[in-house]
Every structure is written in structure tokens, then in C-alpha cells.
């Protein structure tokens, strides 16, 4: 493969991972569950590391781990009296412990397992990009087709339960989210996928004044952050994963500052209550 083709493949993988994580992030941040992505990412990591012990290839193990965690979280979070952040914390610590246990128990070189923590975007292969493109297309089609029900789900899960099959829709978001995080794990890494999910969505919700615009902005900022991070890593010889995290964090910061500047220029649009339940 020529150098140009290799760069094109890596760039495509970065944009697809950023786009899908950015779009997924809009759903999870909107439901105030961004930490859920960390849980499924670490469950995928645990699955990838422990999979070979059960005779599964690492990718199948990652998918199984992520789906199991998503379904378990779906069942746990259906109970209104369970605090979501506490439950996510418990699942996160368990999945992380399982992942490190698997790394510790694995025989031979541990580089492959540790590589899943930080990702290996530069070693992406065409098959991975095709699979990632398929799941990105699936997620995008899901969001476009169910934009209105998803909008309601993000606004209020309790209200959504009175108007649509909320449990089914919520579980579908979790399962799709698990698929996205499992497939991005190889490229972005278990530790850094969270930044691509959380940061573009935070910026998009701050900058946009409509739901559709914020979904598109989240996806574009995700793709842009991944590509920008890749470019920065190439230009200054930095670790790719860390460069992507820094760029996406700067995007989130710019989004927050941009909204403040916007509010100062147009005071009538400033939020007089700014996230407080106002009197």
C-alpha cells in the first residue's frame, strides 16, 4: 500500500471514529449519561483481553463485553430509584478491574492488550475501516430515522415513557453505543474514546440552537477533532490518541467560550437561568 493510501485509510478511520463518537456523544450527553461510554469502553476492553481465554478473537470479545455491559446498564438504569452515576461508577470499576486482571493474567507480550488502552490508529487496516463505516452508517441512519423520538428521550426519559416505548429506544441507544465504542477501541483506545464522545457533544449543545444542528455539529466536531488530533500528532511527532484528546478538549472549551461570546454579543439570547430550575 502506498504512503498516500495509508494516510487516506488512517484519515478515513479517524473521521469515521470521530463522527460516530460525536453523534453517539450527543445522545449520551443529552441523557446526562456520558460516563456510560466509559463503562462500555472498559467492558469492551475487558472483553477483548478476556475473550481469548474463552476462545474468542479479541474483537468478538470486545463486542460481547460491550453489549453485555450495555444490556446490564439498561436493566439497572430502568429503575428510577437507582442513582445513575453511582451505578455507572460500580460497573466502571468492575469492568476496569476485569480488564487489568485479564492483562495481568495474559501470557507472553502484553503489548497488544495494553495497545487497546491507548489505541493504534496508525495501524488500522481496510477491514476495520469497512466495519467502522458500516456501524457509522447504521448509527447515522438510526439517528436520522428516529430523530423526533430521540429528541423526546433526551429531553425527558420519564416523559418519553408515557408517549413511546422508551425502554426499547433506550436499550437500542445503549446497544448501538456499545457497538460504536467496541469498534473504536482498537483505533482510539479505551482510555480516550470517552473524550471523543463527550467533548464534541458538549461543544455542540453549547453552540447550537436546534436539536438537528447540534447532532450535525457534534458529529462534525468529532470527525474534525480526530482528524485535527491526527494532523497535530503528525506535525509535532506526538502520540496520536493523546493529541486527539487534547484537540477535542480544546473544541469543547471553544464551544463554551463561543457561547459566552455569543451571549455577550446578543444579550437577548443569553440564558437568564443557565441550567438552574428557575423560579
Amino acid at each position: 500500500m502506498s504512503l498516500l493510501a495509508t494516510f487516506a485509510l488512517i484519515g478515513t478511520a479517524a473521521v469515521l471514529a470521530g463522527w460516530s463518537c460525536g453523534l453517539l456523544g450527543c445522545l449520551l450527553v443529552g441523557m446526562r449519561l456520558p460516563f456510560l461510554a466509559v463503562c462500555t469502553a472498559h467492558a469492551a476492553l475487558a472483553g477483548a483481553v478476556l475473550g481469548p481465554w474463552l476462545g474468542l478473537p479479541p474483537t468478538a470479545g470486545a463486542l460481547a463485553g460491550a453489549f453485555l455491559a450495555a444490556l446490564a446498564l439498561g436493566i439497572i438504569l430502568r429503575h428510577r430509584d437507582i442513582d445513575a452515576s453511582g451505578a455507572l461508577g460500580v460497573v466502571f470499576s468492575l469492568t476496569m478491574a476485569l480488564a487489568f486482571l485479564g492483562i495481568g493474567l495474559s501470557r507472553g507480550a502484553k503489548a497488544d492488550a495494553l495497545g487497546l488502552l491507548c489505541g493504534s490508529l496508525l495501524f488500522v487496516n481496510p477491514r476495520q475501516v469497512i466495519v467502522l463505516a458500516a456501524i457509522t452508517a447504521l448509527l447515522t441512519a438510526f439517528v436520522v430515522a428516529l430523530a423526533r423520538p430521540l429528541k423526546l428521550l433526551l429531553f425527558s426519559r420519564a416523559l418519553a415513557a408515557t408517549l413511546l416505548p422508551e425502554a426499547v429506544l433506550f436499550t437500542a441507544v445503549l446497544v448501538l453505543g456499545a457497538g460504536v465504542t467496541a469498534f473504536c477501541l482498537d483505533m482510539v483506545g479505551g482510555l480516550m474514546v470517552y473524550s471523543l464522545i463527550c467533548n464534541p457533544a458538549v461543544a455542540a449543545f453549547r453552540l447550537c440552537r436546534s436539536f438537528r444542528a447540534s447532532l450535525l455539529t457534534g458529529a462534525l466536531l468529532g470527525g474534525g477533532s480526530a482528524l485535527g488530533g491526527l494532523g497535530a500528532a503528525y506535525a509535532w511527532d506526538l502520540p496520536v490518541g493523546a493529541a486527539i484528546v487534547v484537540v477535542s478538549s480544546l473544541v469543547a472549551l471553544a464551544g463554551c467560550l463561543g457561547r459566552r461570546g455569543h451571549a455577550r454579543l446578543m444579550p437577548s439570547l443569553a440564558d437568564p437561568h443557565d441550567e438552574r430550575p428557575s423560579p
Binding site: 430509584d81 423526533r148 429528541k151 429531553f155 416523559l159 449543545f205 440564558d271 441550567e275 428557575s278 423560579p279
Partner: protein, 271 residues
């Protein structure tokens, strides 16, 4: 006599084996305005969830629009038709302000399921119902404002417009005046009264403040914590004695006609 919208026969609700509501027998007919009054933790919101078909009673029989809502508990992927006939206004903390949604978006949620059929006529009808609801509540000027930019009172008004757009026959209001200033509390109370008077909806309002019940309230469910609720008329139950028993302290009630204007605990040194 019109068919009941909701029938509860010796209904009880339990949480982890502990009874939190009931036994309650209550019939709600079209046009009723039911006030559910009681202190915090009395099971008022549980009753609202039962009436919305979101919770299964641990004992007794519950029928909504003549049907048992059992199917919706066992098959959560199915949306029974009666669900759309019930509208609910939740407490303000149940809504996210993170997502940028306009007032029009929120009112539009009321037509969800109606406009998604793909038929142009249905979509037009949904848009008309949304615009009518905005107009009825004087929200046309705010239609493009973000929900998170609204005051608490304006948010409640937007939610009521959503209920009108939904065409819900029974409207459940969970503490609609909570957290609002005095002026908005009164405005929200009048809006709740208008839902029945002007829009002919059946209204069930949950509140821990008896002075928030609208003047056209026809039935009161008084809920003392840990005891069976009492069902009666406002004249019978919104009195100092039953309210004192329910709230566990002596309260004084100031009334004007059917409406309770104020109620407050009496202290030892009160005149």
C-alpha cells in the same frame, strides 16, 4: 352517566415490600378535577404514576379507559392506544435543559406518534394542533425561544401547551406550581382550572399545598403518610381538622367559597 376514565378498586402500591399507597378506591369521570393533597412522602406521585399506567399496583384493580393496563407492563415495546389519551406534566427536574430545544419543539412532543405516520394530512393536523396549543396559551411570541431560556412559569405554560397539543383527555399535573413565585403559582393554578373549564379536560393535580388546588376542584384525595387515603369533596376535606390529621401538625385554613386561599401551621404562640 359517562363512562369512567379511571377506576381504582382497593388499589395498593408497594415499594420493596412496604406499602406506600392505599388501599384507595376512586372513580374519575370525564370533566372531574381531582386534587391529590398530602405531605411529602405520602405517595402522591405514586398515585399519579398508577393513573398514567406507568406503575403496576401491588394489590387491587386498576382500569384506565375501561381497560386493564397490564399489557403495557408485560410488553413494554407496545404502546397501547389509551396511553395517548393521558397527558402528564412532570416535576421540573425531570426535564433536561442540556439539549437545545425550542418551545415549539417541546409543544410538538404532544403530537408525537400522530405526525410520524408519514401521511401529509396527519402531519398538517399535527402542526395545526401544535400551533393552536401555542396560540391558546399565548406562547406564539416564545415559540422559537429555547426552553432552557424560559422562566420556571413559562416552562410550565409550555408543558401545558404540550398537553393541549396531545389532545389528552386526562391530564395529570405533578406539583405544577412547585418552585414558582407567588404570581406564577396563581397563574399556573388558573391555567389548571382553565384546562377543565375551557378545554373540557379531566384534570388530576398533585400538590402538597392545599391552597394550590383550582376553584373548580370537584374531588379531593387527602393522603396522610402510611394511612389509607380519604376521598371526598373539597368542602369536607379541605378543613383544618382533616388537613391537620394528614399533615401531622395543627393547620389553619383560610377559605373563600370552595377555594382554599391559604393554609399554614399554627404555632403555640399564634393569636
Amino acid at each position: 352517566m359517562p363512562e369512567p376514565i379511571a377506576e381504582l378498586t382497593a388499589v395498593e402500591a408497594a415499594y420493596r415490600g412496604r406499602r406506600v399507597l392505599g388501599p384507595l378506591t376512586l372513580t374519575i369521570r370525564p370533566g372531574d378535577v381531582v386534587g391529590v393533597v398530602g405531605p411529602n412522602g405520602a405517595g402522591k406521585s405514586t398515585l399519579l404514576r398508577l393513573l398514567a399506567g406507568l406503575q403496576r399496583p401491588s394489590r387491587g384493580q386498576l382500569r384506565l379507559f375501561g381497560q386493564s393496563p397490564g399489557e403495557s407492563w408485560t410488553m413494554p415495546w407496545r404502546m397501547p392506544a389509551w396511553r395517548r389519551r393521558i397527558g402528564i406534566l412532570l416535576q421540573h427536574h425531570e426535564y433536561s435543559t442540556e439539549v437545545p430545544l425550542t418551545v415549539r419543539d417541546v409543544v410538538d412532543f404532544g403530537t408525537l406518534g400522530m405526525a410520524s405516520t408519514g401521511h401529509r394530512a396527519r402531519r398538517l393536523e399535527a402542526a395545526w394542533r401544535r400551533d393552536e396549543a401555542l396560540r391558546h396559551l399565548g406562547l406564539e411570541g416564545l415559540a422559537d425561544r429555547l426552553y432552557r431560556e424560559l422562566s420556571g412559569g413559562e416552562r410550565q405554560k409550555t408543558q401545558m401547551a404540550r398537553l393541549l397539543a396531545q389532545g389528552a383527555e386526562m391530564i395529570l399535573l405533578d406539583e405544577p406550581a412547585a418552585g414558582l413565585d407567588v404570581e406564577w403559582k396563581e397563574r399556573v393554578t388558573r391555567l389548571a382550572a382553565a384546562l377543565q373549564r375551557d378545554h373540557h379536560r379531566t384534570v388530576v393535580m398533585v400538590t402538597h399545598e392545599a391552597d394550590r388546588l383550582p376553584e373548580n376542584c370537584s374531588t379531593v384525595v387527602l393522603m396522610p403518610p402510611g394511612q389509607a387515603p380519604r376521598v371526598g369533596t373539597p368542602e369536607a376535606l379541605l378543613q383544618a381538622e382533616p388537613l391537620s390529621a394528614a399533615y401531622g401538625c395543627r393547620v389553619e385554613v383560610v377559605r373563600q367559597g370552595r377555594r382554599v386561599l391559604a393554609f399554614a401551621p399554627m404555632t403555640e404562640d399564634a393569636p
